[in-house]
């Protein structure tokens, strides 16, 4: 994808000596749902604000539909923002909040009224037009903020942790609603979150950020199953990250194990072997299949987490490994202290050299 609708080119932002965005390049296609994911302080908000026009950047450029945004003030950019704290105007009613954008665009009163009605019913808030923001719950305010941001029919919608203030149940519901809405309207979404599950559920692609740079960008599946580096593997999902050394014959030495695996690392170099917990089977007996790697271990702890159980085990050569299984009632139970065999398909492990 080298013809992005939004192109961020070598963007760098410094506050004094602090480099907050470090040479960021990013393409987003028209109508795409991109999530910016990363830990607190990694620069997600700053990147979003740079696109919206509230942060002047030191180097690089941002183009939307081929047009440089560098000298364009926020009010003339084809983007709208859903702010983290919603930023609803407290002195205006819900309807006036939503109508604020269309009014500025010079629409006549009747037109504004019909846009307001349409946007409010899109988010299921049609009955609340005459209320003031202070008279709404958090979830309702969130919907109004969304309605206000889509009222101008922006090409791009920027959302900064819009679901951060909601409780888990409402949050999950809004995730689905937001995704549906995005598909219906065909607006390009750039969505900031530090919740990996939220990113996986909603986004077409995820950009994982780490201290001002983009560590990896790709689909949720790519990032989960084929992380480019240890940082990404650790950040997304649960992971067993085992220290490995590349042997002379190219196989990996992990403790007492020797695994033949594909990788580009030179002999003698260090690597990380990624094993997702759900890829590991826990049995009492050895699996005879040749495609499986097996490792004897002792069960230390079992955690029941509803639909799944997590089994914490220590292998005979001292590696701590967590496995995850679906908790089907009636399955041969595994108990703490059992000697078991952990096994996984040799293709399900991944070698990370960064």
């Amino acid at each position: 994808m080298n013809n992005g609708y939004i192109r961020v080119e070598h963007l760098t932002k410094r506050y004094g000596d602090l480099v907050v965005l470090n040479d960021i390049s990013l393409d987003v296609a028209e109508g795409e749902f991109l999530a910016l994911l990363g830990p607190s302080g990694c620069g997600k908000t700053t990147l979003l604000r740079a696109i919206a026009g509230f942060v002047e950047f030191s180097e690089g450029d941002i183009r939307i539909d081929g047009r440089s945004m560098k000298r364009l003030p926020p009010n003339r950019r084809p983007v709208n923002t859903v702010f983290q704290n919603y930023a609803l105007f407290p002195h205006l009613t819900v309807a006036q909040n939503v109508g604020f954008g269309p009014r500025r665009a010079g629409k006549v009163a009747a037109e504004v009224a019909s846009i307001v009605e349409e946007c409010l019913s899109t988010v299921g808030m049609a009955a609340y037009g005459e209320r003031f923001p202070a008279q709404l719950s958090g979830g309702q305010q969130q919907r109004v903020a969304l309605a206000r941001a889509i009222a101008n029919r922006p090409k791009v919608l920027l959302l900064d942790e819009p679901l951060g203030a909601l409780d888990l149940k409402l949050r999950k519901q809004m995730q689905i609603e937001l995704k549906t809405l995005q598909q219906k309207l065909g607006i390009t979404f750039i969505f900031v979150t530090h919740d990996q599950e939220e990113a996986l559920v909603m986004a077409d692609r995820i950009a994982v950020m780490d201290a001002g740079r983009i560590a990896q960008i790709g689909s949720g599946r790519d990032i989960y199953h084929a992380p480019a580096e240890r940082y990404v593997a650790d950040f997304i999902g649960d992971a067993n990250l085992l220290a490995a050394t590349v042997a002379a014959d190219g196989s990996l030495a992990i403790g007492s194990l020797s695994i033949a695996a594909r990788h580009g690392a030179a002999a003698g170099s260090k690597a990380t072997y990624l094993l997702r917990p759900e890829a590991i089977r826990v049995d009492h007996a050895q699996d005879p299949s040749a495609d499986f790697v097996s490792l004897p271990a002792c069960v230390q702890e079992i955690v029941f987490a509803g639909g799944i159980i997590r089994i914490y085990a220590v292998s005979s050569d001292g590696q701590e490994i967590v496995a995850q299984q679906t908790a089907l009632a009636g399955e041969a139970p595994i108990a703490v202290g059992d000697e078991v065999v952990l096994s996984w398909h040799r293709d399900s492990g991944r070698v990370l050299t960064k």
Binding site: A52, G53, F54, P73, P74, N75, R76, V79, N80, T81, F83, N85, A87, L88, F89, P90, H91, F100, G101, R104, A105, R148, A151, N152
Partner: protein
């Protein structure tokens, strides 16, 4: 930390007792005196005398006219200063220096300050000599001892009150609201008119009330800057108490001034309350 009831009673009681002793009691004494003749008989004669001819009503009119103009000018000068300090000055240190500069006029005594203005505004004063040197006028303009000089003198000391009150409210306005307005396509001017200014109205209302009441009750500035040619209510009241020793009529003048001021303030708040944006301003 919870305050025990005994302490709470003390903390509330002391200021209340202070208010009662030094404000409420004298206030009732004044009100009662205004309804009495010199001999102590109850009567409305004092009020009849105020309304008897046009002299006192016209003084009342001048007092409120000058106070209103001083309030408006204080707003026009003070609001931009407050806006500048809060939204334009970046560093915290510079902001502090700005606040000190703003309240600087209040550091000097009222009387010294007013004599300073006399030197500036007089016939041979700096203002007139400058105007004449620039050729803008060929004769000295009469500024001193006019209503204009009273307004200048009042505004000079009242602007700080407006600035501090407005800045206090401007500071509490969430910056992301301004960003939201810009984001939705409003330019800087519209953002100010539709978001910042309406949200700062509580400060404007409070500031103008403070400034107006201070202007109405001002005595030193009008009496020096008018040179005795214009009389405001505070001067009349002082005259009754201080030179003519007619405490009963002085009291009636004071009560009259208070009542009219309260009525005007009530009308003002009522008017603001009827504006959609103002409703929030009055409530908060």
């Amino acid at each position: 930390m919870r305050i025990r009831n005994g302490w709470a009673a003390l903390l509330v009681g002391v200021p209340l007792a202070f208010m009662a002793a030094f404000f409420l009691v004298p206030f009732f004494v004044v009100v009662m005196a205004s309804f009495q003749t010199k001999d102590g008989a109850w009567s409305l004669a004092n009020y009849a005398r105020i309304l008897g001819d046009s002299y006192y009503p016209s003084i009342l009119y001048v007092t409120f006219k000058l106070s209103l103009i001083a309030t408006l000018v204080s707003f026009v000068i003070g609001y931009p200063i407050a806006y500048y300090i809060v939204n334009v000055v970046r560093s915290r240190m510079a902001r502090r220096i700005c606040y000190i500069l703003v309240i600087m006029p209040l550091f000097t005594s009222n009387i010294v300050r007013s004599f300073g203005w006399m030197i500036l505004l007089g016939r041979q004063g700096l203002v007139n000599t400058t105007l004449m040197t620039l050729g803008l006028t060929d004769r000295p303009m009469p500024i001193l001892f006019t209503e204009l000089s009273i307004i200048i003198g009042l505004t000079y000391i009242l602007v700080p009150f407006m600035v501090l009150t407005v800045a206090g409210v401007l500071q509490t306005i969430d910056k992301s609201l301004v960003e939201a307005a810009l984001d939705l396509g409003a330019n800087r001017f519209v953002t100010f008119a539709k978001v910042t200014f309406p949200l700062s109205l509580p400060g404007v209302v409070a500031g103008s009330l403070i400034v107006f009441t201070l202007a109405v009750s001002a005595y030193v500035v009008p009496s020096i800057m008018s040179g005795g040619r214009t009389v405001v209510m505070a001067m009349s009241i002082f005259e009754q108490y201080g030179s003519l020793f007619d405490f009963n009529f002085g009291a009636a003048l004071a009560v009259g001034l208070l009542v009219v001021t309260l009525v005007l303030i009530a009308l003002y708040l009522f008017f603001i309350e009827r504006q959609p944006a103002g409703r929030q301003a009055v409530r908060s």
